[in-house]
Amino acid sequence: MTTISEIEAPAAVGAAAPKRRFDLRKVRWWRVAVLGVLGVYFVVPLAASFWFTVYDSHTRTFSLSPYGQIFSAPGFGTSVRMTVEVALLTIVILYALLVPAMIAVHLRLPKLRPVLESLAMVPLVLSPVALVVGIQTVLGWGLNQNPGTPLFQLAVDLQNQNFPLILPIVYVLIALPFAYRSLEAGLRAVDLRTLVEASRGLGASWPVTIWRAVLPNLRTGLLSGAILTLALVFGEYTISSILQFLPFSVWIVQDGQGATSGQLAPAVSLLSLLLSWAVLFLVSFLGGRRAVGRTDRSSS
C-alpha cells in the first residue's frame, strides 16, 4: 500500500499583507477634490429628491408618510409584480439564448466570437422609439388578421395586459449587450475547455456538464447580468409606455403622481434606487470574494 507521505506545503491562504498606516500627509488632495465634486454631483439631486419627499412646504413640517404609503398605493403591487415577472422571464430567455451560444462559440467556434460580440452590441445603437414603432406596426398587422387565426391570437396574447409577453421579448434585445458583457467576462475568467472536458471525461452529459460544472463557475457573471437586466427592466419607460402597458416605471409616472402632492413617486424612485444599489453592492462583493479566491490559487 502506498501513500504519499510528504506533502508540499499548502498555499498560504489569506496570508496577511503588511498593514499600511494611514498618513494624512500622503493623501493626494486632487483625488479628494475629484471625489468631492463627483459626490456633490450624485448626492445633491438625491438629497433634493429626499427633501422633496419628506418636507411639506405648505405646513412647513417633516414627514416620512410618503414612504409609508408606498405599499398601500393603488396599483403599486400589480405593477411591481408584473415588472418582476417580465424581468424574470427576460432573464430566463436571455440566458437560454446566450449561455449555450457563448459556450459553443468559446469551445468550438472561437473565430465567431467577434461576430457574436458585434451582434450582441447592435441593440446599443438601436433607438427604443424606432424599435417600438416597428413592433407596434407588426402587432397591429397581427390584430388586423381574421379573429381566430393563429396570427391574430398570437398578437392578442403578446399584448395581454396582465402579462404582456411582448415586453420580455423586446427587453431581451435591449438587455443583450449588458448580459453579453457580463457573461463574456465570466467565461474569460475560467478555463472553460478544461472544465468541460474534465466533467465530460468523468461521465457527465452536456446538460449536466453545463449545469454542474460551468454555470456554478459563471455565477458572478450570470448574477451581474441578471441584476443589470432587472434594473433595466425596472427603469424602462419608453417602450412599455408607448405600448400602453403599466409596469412599475410607467406606474410611477402615471398613477404614483396622484398621491400626497406628488411626493409618492419620488419616494418610490428613491427607494428603488437604494434597493438597486444594495443589490449591485452585493454583486460587487461576491465578485470581489471570487477574485480573492482566484488570487490565492494563482499564488500557489
Partner: protein, 371 residues
C-alpha cells in the same frame, strides 16, 4: 499512518484492472497542419506508456482522441478489443489528469473526487467514504473540505489524480500533469503516480515533453515525430539502441562526430573503425556518427599532436561536475564540440585546456549522411 487497510477497499472498488488499448492508423489534420499521420500504438494491460516528442508532434492530439475529446479523420481506438472511436467522451470510462489545474473551483476536494461517482448514482455515504480513501491514497487525508484555491499546485494535481481514479477508469490518461509544478514537487509526484499506477495495474497513457520524466516513469516510451511513431521501446532500449537518427538525437545527449564509411557497415571515426547500426550509406560517404557522451573515453596527448588537428583530437573546453560523473566538453580540431562523461575521479586527469584524444567505445553506432 496505516494507509494499507483503509485504502485497500478503494483500490478494490475503484478500478477495472488492466485492459488493452490500441490506437490504429490514426490520422488527424487541423486545416493544412497534419497532427497525426497514421499513428499506431498498442498498450498491454496494466502498462504505462509515455508519449514523448517535440512540440507539435501530435502526442496531445493522440491523447485527446483516446479520451474522446477529439475525433480522428481516419483510424480507430480500441479498448479491450472494443472500438470506441465514435463513442462520446462521457461513456468511455477513462480517467484523465490535465496539464492545467482542472479541479472544479466551486467544489471542495472531496466533492471533486465524488463528482464522477455521483454521476454514476453511487449512494452518498459510499461516495464520501471512497473519496476519503482515495484522498488518503494520494496523500491528501483530511483535506476533503478544502477548495482548490486553498491548495497548492501539487496538491491540486493529487486531488485530480484521485478524482480520475474514483470513476474506476479502464484507462488512465495523463496530459503533462506535472509540467506546471516546481522541480521538487514534480520529482516527488512522479514517483507516487508511478507507484499508484503499478499498484492498481491500470493501463496508462502519459503525454510528456520531459525525457527524464518519460524514461523514469514509463514501461515503454513512444517517441513521436510529425504525427508518426518513430519508436516505442523500453527506456533502456530506446536510449541504448535508438531505431532512428531522430530518436537518437531527441532522447538524451548525442555527439555528432565526423566520420567516413570505410567499408560495408563499418565507419571510421576518431581514428577507430566501428560497426554501423541501422542504415549505412555507401563506402566513402562522409557521415555524422552519433555517439552518446558515456560512449566516449579520453586519453591525454602532447600539445604538438593536438595542434596537428588529427581527427578526434582537441582541447578540453569545459568540465561540468554532475556528481558521480563529470561531463567534459572537448573542442575538436574542426571547430566542433564533443561531450564525454567520465567518472569524476578520472576527470581530474583532464584539466581545462589540456589536449586529449577521443576514444569511442567499440559498440555499433548510428550514422547520418552529411547533407
Amino acid at each position: 499512518m496505516n494507509a494499507t487497510a483503509s485504502a485497500a477497499p478503494a483500490k478494490d472498488a475503484a478500478l477495472a484492472r488492466g485492459v488493452g488499448l490500441e490506437l490504429s492508423g490514426l490520422h488527424r489534420s487541423f486545416g493544412a497542419a497534419r497532427a497525426l499521420d497514421g499513428f499506431d500504438l498498442a498498450l498491454a494491460p496494466g502498462e504505462l506508456v509515455a508519449l514523448l516528442g517535440p512540440s507539435g508532434c501530435g502526442k496531445t492530439t493522440a491523447l485527446r482522441i483516446v479520451a474522446g475529446f477529439d475525433q480522428p479523420d481516419r483510424g480507430a481506438v480500441f479498448v479491450d478489443g472494443a472500438d470506441l472511436t465514435r463513442l462520446s467522451a462521457a461513456k468511455r470510462d477513462m480517467g484523465m489528469v490535465f496539464q492545467s489545474y482542472s479541479l472544479f473551483p466551486h467544489l471542495t476536494a472531496g466533492q471533486n473526487v465524488s463528482y464522477g461517482p455521483r454521476l454514476r448514482k453511487v449512494p452518498s455515504g459510499e461516495r464520501d467514504k471512497q473519496a476519503a480513501e482515495l484522498l488518503e491514497l494520494v496523500g491528501m487525508a483530511g483535506m476533503q473540505g478544502r477548495y482548490p484555491h486553498q491548495l497548492s499546485g501539487g496538491q491540486q494535481q493529487r486531488v485530480a489524480l484521485a478524482r480520475a481514479l474514483a470513476v474506476r477508469p479502464k484507462v488512465l490518461l495523463l496530459d503533462e500533469p506535472l509540467s506546471a509544478l516546481d522541480a521538487k514537487v514534480r520529482l516527488q509526484l512522479r514517483d507516487e503516480i508511478r507507484r499508484i499506477q503499478q499498484e492498481f495495474g491500470i493501463t496508462t497513457l502519459f503525454v510528456t515533453h520531459d525525457q527524464e520524466e518519460a524514461l523514469s516513469m514509463a514501461d515503454r516510451v513512444a517517441v513521436m515525430k510529425d504525427g508518426k511513431l518513430e519508436q516505442c521501446a523500453a527506456p533502456a532500449e530506446l536510449y541504448d539502441r535508438p531505431a532512428t537518427a531522430f530518436v537518437a538525437e531527441f532522447v538524451g545527449t548525442m555527439n555528432h562526430l565526423v566520420g567516413q564509411i570505410a567499408a560495408d557497415r563499418l565507419v571510421r571515426v576518431a581514428g577507430r573503425e566501428l560497426a554501423v547500426d541501422g542504415e549505412c550509406p555507401a563506402e566513402g560517404t562522409k557521415v555524422k556518427v552519433l555517439i552518446r557522451p558515456e560512449g566516449l573515453d579520453l586519453e591525454p596527448i602532447g600539445d604538438a599532436a593536438a595542434t596537428a588537428g588529427l581527427p578526434g583530437e582537441g582541447q578540453i573546453l569545459l568540465a561540468t561536475f554532475l556528481g558521480a560523473t563529470t561531463r567534459l566538453t572537448v573542442r575538436l580540431g574542426d571547430g566542433s564540440e564533443a561531450k564525454a562523461d567520465l567518472p569524476s575521479h578520472r576527470a581530474a586527469e583532464f584539466p581545462v585546456g589540456s589536449s586529449v584524444r577521443l576514444l569511442p567505445a567499440p559498440r555499433p553506432v548510428l550514422v547520418v549522411a552529411e547533407g
